[in-house]
């Protein structure tokens, strides 16, 4: 990261970040890229710390590293112990590794604990122009700040711990432009699901996506985080939104943000990373926001998605034999038939949370639907805030009471039923409306059936016991109290 970009040929935000982070080598081939921030969690780090120790290497920059416990933590009261001894041992090793390397850790009991992709933004740790990595594919979330943020494997976690750098090759760029105004009841989640449905789960492979257009500009930071979160589900390396006034406003006053005159300097530098007028992308996809509707996935990957008013496709709609077989397997796993209307699908469970939709705005959106209603008698619904900070803010607004009065469970923060590594899992055959990001087989529990939706769609499904078009029930999000 340099202090300010100089003018020249128009460049994309991605290209500016890449070129300005090369510690060694040539930007047109594989080069050593400096990493400004490394986020760490329990599931993908133990082997990396072990590797470091085996080679006698040290953590180069504990001050650019932050660890958190999120993936396996139970969401019941924090005073109760972690029931799974193997998970408890993994958490213990993270604490021990962080202590030995002097890496700050937000443990189970920390007041800033939360899902790794939720806590960074809250603290102001993610700023435009930065390079950010984490041993987790949904690190793409953090591109919402006009940063280059992507997931890495454990070997690369080890390299970043040891060298604060990674060997990277330049990516191609994909512009996804969403112009116009999102209709009421249609959210960033629906925008993202529509995009994946359009480009496919492998459609953005090898690219860094930049979301542009008036509908993207109109999104809040939280909406942009949701949008960038799902970029990985289209196969992209990373997704980002160039910094603008919304980004700068969000960062003002955050714990890790600069203050006073330095903030002005920083803000100017942040903006200089935005894509230049006239910069060229390798590919462009254009989407009309006005035509977007709420979406629901019906299959076993996020590209198997339909409009809420639509139906599951017919097998004859698939072009290749492999695709047809894949749809047959998906429908069999999901216990659904071709051509079924989405609104006829009933659910047993509802999960509102995750790094996709576990932030305050998401909870407000869900609460606006839940308020005064009652969870359907055949449904069990839970709300898991993305972080302790989100949980406190939601409680201060009374959202917890809206949920609990309507019959939703209100839990402690963590990844929870997004991947079911803690006690929150679907039983075999149970069907869930989930605000998370992956509907893969068994993701939320062996045999569990996941339908991805927005927070308001999930809340509506909880009340009605089946999917309903939230646009029919829409109420304005609850205004914050006070």
């Amino acid at each position: 990261m340099i202090s300010q970009m100089s003018p020249g040929t128009p460049r994309t935000a991605y290209r500016k970040i890449w070129e300005s982070h090369i510690a060694s080598g040539d930007p047109d081939s594989r080069a050593l890229m400096y990493i400004d921030l490394h986020l760490v969690h329990e599931v993908t780090s133990a082997q990396a710390f072990n590797g470091l120790r085996a080679e006698g290497r040290r953590v180069r920059r504990p001050d650019l590293t932050l660890a958190v416990m999120d993936h396996t933590v139970p969401t019941w009261e924090r005073s109760r112990p972690t029931p799974d001894p193997i998970a408890a041992e993994q958490l213990r090793q993270l604490a021990e590794n962080c202590r030995a390397a002097e890496v700050p850790l937000l443990d189970l009991h920390h007041r800033r604990q939360g899902i790794v992709h939720v806590i960074g933004p809250e603290l102001g740790l993610i700023q435009p122009g930065m390079t950010v990595v984490c041993g987790d594919s949904h690190t793409s979330t953090l591109g919402a700040f006009g940063a280059l943020a992507f997931g890495i494997g454990t070997s690369e976690v080890e390299q970043v711990l040891a060298t604060q750098s990674l060997w990277q090759a330049p990516a191609t760029t994909l512009e996804i432009r969403v112009d116009g105004e999102l209709p009421i009841g249609v959210t960033a989640k629906d925008m993202a699901l529509a995009i994946i449905g359009r480009v496919g789960v492998a459609g953005a492979q090898g690219t860094v996506v930049e979301y542009r257009g008036s509908a993207v500009r109109a999104l809040s930071m939280e909406g942009r985080l949701t949008l960038c979160n799902l970029t990985i589900e289209a196969g992209a390396r990373a997704g980002l939104v160039s910094a603008d006034q919304t980004t700068v406003n969000y960062l003002a006053g955050r714990a890790a943000s600069p203050t006073g005159a330095e903030f002005e300097l920083a803000a100017a530098a942040w903006r200089s990373y935005a894509t230049d007028e006239g910069a060229e992308f390798d590919r462009t996809v254009v989407i009309d926001a006005a035509e977007l509707v709420p979406h629901v996935t019906w299959g076993t990957n996020p590209g198997m998605v339909a409009q809420v008013t639509g139906r599951i496709p017919r097998l004859s709609d698939f072009h290749t034999e492999l695709e047809r077989q894949q749809a047959v397997r998906a429908l069999d796993y999901m216990g659904l038939s071709e051509g079924t209307a989405i609104e006829e699908i009933s659910v047993d469970r509802v999960f509102i949370g995750s790094c996709t939709n576990g932030r305050l705005e998401d909870l407000r959106e869900a609460a606006a639907i839940a308020a005064g209603g009652r969870v359907h008698s055949t449904v069990r619904a839970m709300v898991v805030p993305g972080s302790q900070t989100v949980k406190r803010a939601a409680e201060a607004e009374g959202l917890d009471r809206i949920f609990t009065q309507a019959g939703f469970e209100w839990r402690e923060p963590g990844c929870s039923m997004c991947l079911g590594m803690n006690p929150d899992v679907l039983g075999s055959g149970e069907r869930c409306a989930s605000t998370s990001n992956r509907n893969f087989e068994g993701r939320q529990g062996a045999g569990g059936r996941t339908h991805l939706v927005s927070p308001s769609m999930a809340a509506a499904a909880a009340l009605h016991g089946h999917f309903v078009d939230v646009r029919q029930l829409h109420r304005a999000p609850l205004a914050p109290v006070g």
């Binding site: 340099i2 510690a23 060694s24 050593l32 400004d36 599931v43 133990a46 082997q47 290497r57 504990p62 001050d63 396996t72 193997i86 998970a87 041992e89 993994q90 090793q93 890496v103 920390h110 603290l123 102001g124 740790l125 700023q127 594919s137 992507f150 997931g151 890495i152 494997g153 454990t154 070997s155 390299q159 060298t163 750098s165 990674l166 060997w167 789960v201 492998a202 090898g206 196969g235 390396r237 714990a255 890790a256 943000s257 600069p258 300097l265 920083a266 990957n301 590209g303 492999l322 695709e323 894949q326 397997r329 991947l419 079911g420 590594m421 992956r438 893969f440 087989e441 068994g442 062996a446």
Partner: protein
């Protein structure tokens, strides 16, 4: 890291697109903290029924594929989670290489880090290779990283492309971390140019 020059072995077909890493290694195995206990866990839900018996309808359970070391599969293999455990599961099952029309980026990077070679070939060619493996009659391939060729008994089938950096690392068994450490001067010089306001996680009061 594990070196790779040439590998010759039996091919097994996994005739599916978009095989995600949640299937290659389900989450219940991600609580372990080692790198080499995942062979039995690979494709767990597809491979075993609820009672723990091998499912007859899962391709890789086919006795004809016993001892296979080259996986031939569909598009977008390894999509989803960044879990490197997926590669550890595949190598634990005895695979040394995987051939597909395309790979998810993080999975491909993780594979290379472990000397497990992702070989990308055209969809038509991969479909042909898959068909040959599906005949279950001992179809074998040799994958040669030196001349970037895939060969079978009949000769050269295809040349494949691989990033020169990784080709070099794999042929020599050189460790990317050691290579980065040898660029210490560049890293330190870069650090000196970072702006003063760049966030630090150790700043006092950050988490209050």
């Amino acid at each position: 890291m594990e070196a790779f020059t040439v590998h010759e072995g039996l091919c097994a077909a996994l005739s599916r697109n978009d095989v995600d890493t949640d299937q290659i290694i389900p989450k219940q195995f991600l609580k372990r903290t080692d790198r080499d206990s995942y062979g039995d866990a690979g494709f767990f839900s597809w491979r075993y029924d609820e009672a723990g018996n091998p499912r007859a309808d899962f391709q890789l359970n086919d006795p004809a594929y016993q001892g296979a070391s080259i996986l031939v599969t569909g598009n977008n293999f390894g999509c989803g989670s960044s879990r490197e455990h997926a590669v550890w599961a595949l190598t634990g099952m005895g695979f040394r290489a995987v051939i597909a029309p395309s790979f998810a980026d993080i999975f491909a990077a993780n594979s290379l880090q472990n000397g497990f070679l992702p070989v990308q070939l055209s969809p038509t060619l991969v479909a042909q290779l898959r068909e040959r493996a599906e005949r279950r009659d001992g179809y074998r391939l040799a994958i040669d990283l030196r001349d970037q060729q895939v060969r079978d008994g009949g000769g050269v089938i295809a040349e494949f492309v691989i990033d020169p950096f990784w080709r070099e690392c794999l042929l020599s068994g050189r460790d990317p971390i050691a290579m980065a450490l040898s660029r210490e001067e560049g890293i330190a010089a870069f650090e000196a140019t970072r702006p003063r306001w760049s966030p630090r996680t150790t700043t006092a009061g950050l988490f209050s």
